[in-house]
Symmetry: D2
Subunit: 344 residues, 4 copies
């Protein structure tokens, strides 16, 4: 048995997506996004997000999606306000500072990797507005689901963006696992984004069945107009863009993205239920497809020996389910843990 629970990044590509790439692989097409597939993608995004003028920029990594989005939302002297654990601040090698011309990031606290409204308010209240000695908050960046597997509800997003808008901050949502948030909340994509005050969304697909495809979705014109240039000059306009767009189009067709995310979330629910039955303490609120749990080292060792792949940090383990995790795999993992927990 090999069960991959290290990362949804380690999963393979959905057959429908690979097929879509093969389908566009006939005949020639204009390079750099001037193709019909990219146009169809933009239309599909507008339907899915119920937004008639949304604009879409396919890119190839989550870091590119985030840093480019932010570069189009902040002037170089701005500060991007995010949770102190945000991926953009801790795990993207300073990409935003590079692509946004030296903009900085400022971490704000909150339980479960979710920004606390009062912490955001306090931060904004403490700023010396208009004083160039101090980086000026210009963007609020939220992450949902967070790297801790927690998800913001629509009211939670609205409350935070409402505070941000009182100071004219623009709003970015890092949705590397956005589909999992849609499934977890049951809210519509529109309600989770522009109707809740989000200006630009990093819409992930790679972790949920695509090959290498993320999309920047702009709900207003200004950042989109900038991204025409910013994507190109950072090397993020692929010549054969139709292969990117085809992935994303397939992803958003026939609810593939939601079906994939639903599988990941449901397998996580089963896993968590099983862990609970076994008396294993969970460390986070696993709203989506990530759980952190406390497992004794010896147990973790044996789980690894059984072929389960996962990350360990001290006495903690992280399990991530994906679009291709099966109920049988979850049963297998729980069975393995059960046998170990059982002293007989």
């Amino acid at each position: 048995m090999t069960v991959e629970l290290r990362s949804d990044n380690a999963a393979s590509v959905s057959p429908a997506i690979l097929e879509a790439m093969a389908t566009v692989n006939s005949g020639s097409a204009l390079a750099y996004g001037g193709d019909e597939v990219t146009a169809a993608l933009e239309n599909r995004v507008r339907e899915v997000f119920e937004h008639p003028t949304a604009r879409v920029f396919p890119v190839l990594s989550g870091t590119a999606a985030n840093a480019l989005s932010l570069s189009a939302l902040t002037p170089p002297w701005g500060s991007v306000v995010c949770h102190e654990t945000a991926h953009i601040m801790t795990s993207e090698g300073g990409a935003t500072s590079l692509l946004a011309g030296g903009a900085v990031m400022t971490g704000v606290a909150g339980e479960g990797y979710k920004m606390a409204p009062e912490a955001l308010q306090a931060h904004l209240d403490g700023v010396r507005w208009g004083d160039p000695h101090h980086s000026q908050p210009t963007v609020l960046s939220l992450t949902s689901p967070s790297d801790y597997g927690t998800v913001y509800s629509v009211p939670e997003i609205s409350e935070l963006t409402g505070i941000a808008k009182t100071r004219d901050l623009r709003v970015h949502l890092d949705g590397a696992r956005f589909a999992n948030a849609v499934v977890a909340t049951g809210a519509t994509p529109a309600d989770l984004t522009w109707r809740a005050g989000v200006d630009v969304l990093s819409l992930g697909a790679t972790k949920n069945g695509a090959l290498s495809a993320e999309a920047i979705v702009c709900f207003s014109e200004a950042p989109a107009d900038e991204l025409v240039y910013r994507t190109k000059r950072s090397g993020h306009v692929t010549s054969k863009m139709r292969y990117q767009s085809a992935q994303l189009l397939a992803y958003l067709t026939d609810d593939l993205w939601l079906r994939n995310a639903r599988n990941a979330n449901e397998r996580m629910r089963e896993l968590c239920a099983g862990l609970g039955s076994l008396g294993i303490p969970l460390l986070n609120s696993p709203d989506a497809n990530l759980v952190f749990a406390e497992i004794p080292d010896a147990v973790a060792d044996r789980l690894e020996t059984s072929g389960v792949l996962f990350y360990r940090l001290g006495g903690q383990v992280r399990f991530v389910t994906s679009w291709e995790t099966t109920p049988e795999e979850i049963d297998g993992v729980l069975g393995c843990l059960g046998r170990q927990a059982d002293p007989r």
Copy 2:
């Protein structure tokens, strides 16, 4: 009849490459390049280039390959010396200036889009070395084949890099169509690059049958050590890198890259021979797979009507052949031109 002669970028993907991507799509794999396919690619590159320590960074666009390569070769106060028509200076939206922290590019003249050694020498002789008022030349960037379809021979490259090395410039080769240069010159990849003084190569694959895959190949350690960080923070490390690496590995396997390039170059030779027979003047020396020709507007109009796709600029046309152009297509194009030339 539809014949695609606009750009090799408009061609589709080689079946062997699409297949290779499907093949790695089973089971999971470590993200961000920590996979076996990427390791195999590096080994393959070392064989192909006869260089035991070459290092490889798969990226997704030629602009990324060039700008990242140059950012790892020049300090921010440097000047990248290139032909005055170089793609990096005219057609990449300032990517190098962005990623290299404000470095500038300086154009040098030469016939047929190829830098003249005496022009390079004169430029270097005119520099106020060590004077910070003046951008200091730090990198020589050559393009072969050029955007004009011309190719540098090994001695031509060596002469230019020799001049550059007298002033300690490092050398970059923009090889967006490198395979076509290998085929055109008959030289080995090693002779065309590191043995001729090239430090870093942008090795293109997308125009020659890959989906979205270019590789930065470093023949020395220092730029490679930087690129570990520079690729990440510009968003050019894909999580599912194995799909990039698989394309490049297939590309370099069983001489696919050379077979593809050979087809493009041979179709171009046939096309040029035919154009010559028809008395149509060629404007460049079509060493590889691009030709510029003078065709009366009326003739070009009718060619377009017949389904031939190509670019026009005033009285000039550009034809580009690709890995999938067929002899029948060339015959068709020539036949169409012949009928028009024939007044009967």
Copy 3:
């Protein structure tokens, strides 16, 4: 005899300016521009330029004034169009590319270091507007007087800015020697700048009697609002700004700036008249205070021996007069040249 004709940068400081600095040196004052002298300077600039809302940013070098001005006028993906000999492109070490986030500069031709309107028009006509592969011209930067000592007339400026405005370029004037241009043309500061379409002026003072003081003068709000932040984060807001402002205020008071420039220009006229009488060929049209002349090496050698300081380049020499050059010094130089020309 020592006569300084190398550069107006080598001159000393006008007594009135040094005195003004001493005068503000009593009592304390708020740092970072929050002082009364800086406020008085802004008012004075508004009077001198007949512009009720002009805004002023004192900085400390011409490179800072230029690069900061341009950074506030162009997005990072823009191209600054300037004469191919412009100081910003050739002699500021890439400062604009750094401070403007990787923007590029594009040289346009023209006689006597002055941009030819038809060359500007041709350049703009050749741009692929809206295509992110190509840097988009966003700013026209003119230099008057040029580094060749030539000066644009008001109609010449208007013609160029008129062409630029048809494509929505903003306009910068590098006026490192602006006072010399005012004196040379007899035009008002307003006519030479905002009334002729200039948005931002680099107003030099250092070469014309100040210690280290240049001013960025903005005739529109948007760049000024950016410069509040851009000056600070590039380290160009001095804490004791009143000493900067005092220099500039004294400079613009009682026409000191024009009196200084008038001296430099008149000494140059005398020098040129004398050179002409001696049959020495002038290479440029010395509208302001710089002349390039052809002098045999032996003559130049003896001139140097006599204590005259100037720059030589091959058979050419450059003479620059300044606010403190005296008629006696010009006589001395001409006398020395005359004796040499006279074989007796």
Copy 4:
């Protein structure tokens, strides 16, 4: 009575420094640092710091000194580790991120604005070294005196730099008030800097009697070689540099810098002693010339009415003494506070 206790930045210029500027104001001199005064300054710095190859770059603001120093010490993907209250992180508008190509800053905790060795160690232990997802610590930046008026002893600096060196970090010291630290510790400039592991020092002079003059002092070659270019392209090479150098040379001559700092520190000691006698609680350890104290609002109001200038934040006040604060002024302030404290 007017007593300036807002900031040492608000003080005037030492007569000896203004005089030195007037002295160099005779005759002409080569621009951009090629003058004799700048050469003499470098020699003087080498004597004062007992370092035969130290190199000096005069600049015009503390922000420039810090951001340029750091840009020469870190690659763009690096992280500058500093105290979480460091001026470079909180009060320079992101200058370091701009000039260092998007490098980031990371705050580490510690009492009294001084970094705790164990916090530094813990931070370095937590880094994923070599992983490009995570900004790599490359520079340790210390501030002494801190913005809280606290000063590191030589052993404290050595302990921190020792930890940093185990991970090959380079070390920067923000010495905007360095003279006050020299006086406060009684240590030599050499012992406080390079002998304790400091590679580059921002040596402030503006807050301590200069007009607008700070110096970057490099104790190793590599950053100095970069600064030749980095100072120029950020606009920080003044043409008439001799006026900058003259200030710094006078500052370091006849111990003017130490005499000025000694006055500031001694006045602070008198002030603190007096505040203590009056039972006013001090919030910091005022090692140098800054104190934070708790004064009831009503008392602060009356102090302001009496003509004492200082900053208030809630119930706290900040007093800063300078080179020109007199014992009489301190007496006056204390007298005023005493009268208020006395209910009769």
